[in-house]
């Protein structure tokens, strides 16, 4: 294939990858700091899309209503996440892995139906924000402006997270807790509040991912389940809890999808899982994770 086609494939893979970075880093962050694998992360992604949709449909006259939705939607989802963490999730921190997984799975079931109760079963869709509905013509092909926007948003948010982790107090506490939660407690750190903040942030990232994808895809109750397995694959490949690992994992995932479909189309559905299995077998802590016992 010629270079322009190759480059376009690369860019499509990149935009998908950068969106996954946002979503998966939410999952990874929560796991790294709190040791909880939040199954319901997919539901928060879905809620992000639905809330953005709600804002857009409630304010049809206002131009730029998508941006308002992008701002408010994930915040609303994050708020819900915070409530869930404080009232429900907190009770099971010391428990068996299975309890965490089942409880977060319960939330997927609940939110699936809540979304149907409020918005119905039909497919929903919102239009592209007018500011970004153009496309860039390069090398005889067109790249939508929105894709460029996604390619930039991913690293932007990641840089924001990086600064948060490295430069702020709360970030330092997060990293310390990830290494040794007990020591944190002993040193007098307020782990409870920290966990709540971290969870809210993680959920916000998931919701942001959902809101970002809403102009490009169908909004429906099935969104939660399809994204959660993909997020698992990304964080496993990169390394659960690893910051850079999530970036690498998402990048690989995006490129894999982009080129895999060209060269091995029949395998498209299996390949992410085969990749996940290979990583787990050969290097279970992921490409950039740290081995722990």
């Amino acid at each position: 294939m010629d270079f322009s086609a190759f480059f376009m494939q690369f860019l499509s893979g990149l935009s998908q990858g950068m969106l996954m970075v946002i979503i998966a880093s939410g999952l990874s962050l929560v796991f790294g700091t709190m040791n909880i694998l939040n199954f319901a992360h997919g539901s928060f992604y879905m809620l992000g899309a639905y809330f953005c949709f709600a804002v857009v449909t409630l304010l049809p006259q206002i131009s730029g209503n998508f941006w308002i939705g992008l701002l408010l939607g994930p915040l609303a989802v994050a708020g819900i996440g915070g409530l869930i963490e404080r009232n429900v999730l907190r009770r099971i921190y010391s428990r068996h892995l299975l309890d965490q997984l089942l409880l977060t799975y319960a939330f997927i079931l609940i939110f699936d139906d809540v979304v149907k109760m409020i918005w119905g079963i039909d497919f929903q869709s919102i239009g592209m924000p007018s500011v970004l509905s153009g496309k860039l013509d390069i090398l005889n092909r067109s790249l939508p402006h929105y894709d460029l926007f996604l390619i930039l948003m991913g690293p932007l948010i990641l840089v924001g997270l990086y600064l948060l982790l490295q430069k702020t107090r709360i970030g330092r506490m997060m990293r310390a807790t990830a290494s040794d939660a007990e020591m944190m407690l002993a040193l007098g750190g307020n782990v409870r509040v920290l966990f709540n903040r971290v969870f809210i942030l993680g959920v916000w990232l998931g919701g942001m991912g959902g809101a970002l994808i809403s102009p490009q895809a169908a909004i429906s109750p099935g969104m939660a389940v399809s994204i959660i397995v993909e997020s698992f694959i990304v964080v496993v490949i990169g390394g659960l809890g690893s910051f850079w690992g999530t970036l690498l994992g998402a990048f690989i995932f995006g490129q894999f999808n982009a080129f895999g479909i060209l060269f091995l189309p029949r395998m498209a559905i299996i390949f992410p899982f085969v990749l996940m299995a290979l990583v787990l077998i050969i290097r279970p802590w992921g490409l950039l994770g740290r081995p722990e016992n």
């Binding site: 494939q9 497919f123 895809a217 169908a218």
Partner: protein, 405 residues
């Protein structure tokens, strides 16, 4: 005194003799409705039930059939064959329904069909499209009053054969329906126009939200026209992302689901114009009194426009009612014979049901998408449907397929 008593006794005897037929007259004809009422398929399942209920209400308002009212008992199959079969068993064994209808998932339809065959109960398929249901796996008790996949695809092939393009790209969702649709389309197109060239065939996982890699691959391939068997959420994502990339300006597009209302409504202004799409029920073009009436009633009941699900549900209930009237009984064997010979007036016109595979000769229309002020969604312009005999599988084909298994 004695005479009066005698009359009284005779009267009572007469009443007792006729009582069964009185209670018979009161007993409703029960139709067990199994469809996706939650989950992915519910966007088809719910309107189908609404359509069926409208039909039942109309029939009951006229006094029912043979003096009996129609009652619909609805169950959710959750788009899973296990659940669908379980509901079918319950409806037949404990609710004692007379007939079964429903399903959007072909897997569920096949599971229920097997059971219907065993139990000798009539099962009318409403939305599920896999041809296998009525051909390889068809039997005496299963009927389909909707289109099927071969009609869908062969109609597309015929329409495509009239276009001047020869270099094709084929894409669809990666499961049986996606694959068999493409195969049907391609085989028929090749038969009609042998000089076409297959540039590439590709499949995407069902439910994937990201079509950009596929879209760019298609654009890079040098194909003139792309045929897609995507539907629902996949088609919505494909359309939106394609439009953003200017895909539809660079390559011609033809798709089975492009004219169907469920996706068209969701897409709204994002539907690309000028693409060739199919529809099971283009009410905006048909405008027969029956169809207009149905659209109005459906809109009153649900606030929405009717699609394939709704029209199918409506047609099935009417078909069953007509058959009961013709057979003058609800006995299954008589009903089967009646269904094979009736002509039903439905929103898509008069339908007959073919004997060999119990498939209704439901037409399938193709046209080019266009926005008109009358509706909030894109309609298909210049729709045309081919003679059903041309697009459904022939008798020889069906016999061959059945012999093979």
């Amino acid at each position: 005194m004695l005479k009066r008593r005698l009359f009284g006794v005779i009267g009572m005897i007469l009443v007792i003799l006729f009582f069964p037929s009185f209670s018979q007259a009161a007993e409703p004809i029960k139709i067990g409705y199994i469809h996706s009422l939650s989950g992915a398929g519910s966007v088809y399942g719910k309107p189908c039930l609404d359509g069926a209920e409208i039909a039942a209400a109309e029939i009951n308002a006229k006094g029912g059939v043979l003096g009996r009212k129609i009652e619909i008992i609805a169950r959710d199959d959750k788009t899973k064959p296990d659940d669908g079969l379980r509901e079918a068993k319950d409806l037949v064994l404990s609710k004692k329904v007379d007939y079964l209808m429903g399903t959007v998932s072909s897997a569920v339809a096949l599971a229920i069909s097997g059971f219907a065959k065993e139990q000798k109960k009539i099962f009318c398929v409403a939305t599920a499209q896999s041809t296998a249901i009525t051909s390889e796996k068809g039997h005496r008790y299963v009927f389909r009053i909707s289109t099927n996949n071969s009609a869908y695809c062969r109609s597309a092939a015929r329409r495509a054969a009239e276009l001047p393009y020869t270099k094709y790209y084929l894409i669809g969702p990666d499961y049986e329906y996606g694959h068999s649709s493409i195969k049907e389309f391609w085989t028929e197109l090749k038969r009609l126009k042998p000089n076409i060239e297959l540039v590439k065939e590709a499949y995407s996982p069902l439910g994937t939200p990201d079509f950009k890699p596929y879209l760019s691959a298609i654009l890079a391939s040098g194909a003139e026209i792309c045929y897609s068997s995507h539907w629902g959420g996949d088609w919505i994502a494909f359309a939106k992302q394609g439009k953003a990339m200017g895909y539809f300006d660079k390559i011609k597009d033809i798709g089975q689901d492009h004219g169907n209302i469920e996706a068209a409504l969701a897409l709204g202004k994002d539907m690309p114009e000028g693409i060739l799409g199919g529809s099971h029920y283009p009410f905006w073009a048909l405008k027969t009194p029956k169809s207009n009436d149905f659209v109005k009633k459906f809109n009153q009941k649900t606030g929405m426009y009717p699609g394939v699900g709704a029209a199918g549900g409506y047609a099935i209930v009417y078909s069953l009612a007509e058959a009961v009237a013709k057979a003058k009984s609800t006995d299954t064997e008589k009903m089967v014979d009646a269904l094979e010979t009736i002509k039903v007036d439905t929103p898509v016109g008069n339908l007959t049901i073919r004997k060999i595979d119990h498939q209704a000769m439901w037409p399938f229309w193709y046209g080019f998408t266009k926005f008109i002020p009358e509706y909030p969604f894109a309609i298909l312009q210049d729709v045309m449907a081919y003679d059903p005999a041309l697009v459904y599988q022939t008798e020889e084909e069906i016999k061959e397929l059945r012999a093979k298994k």
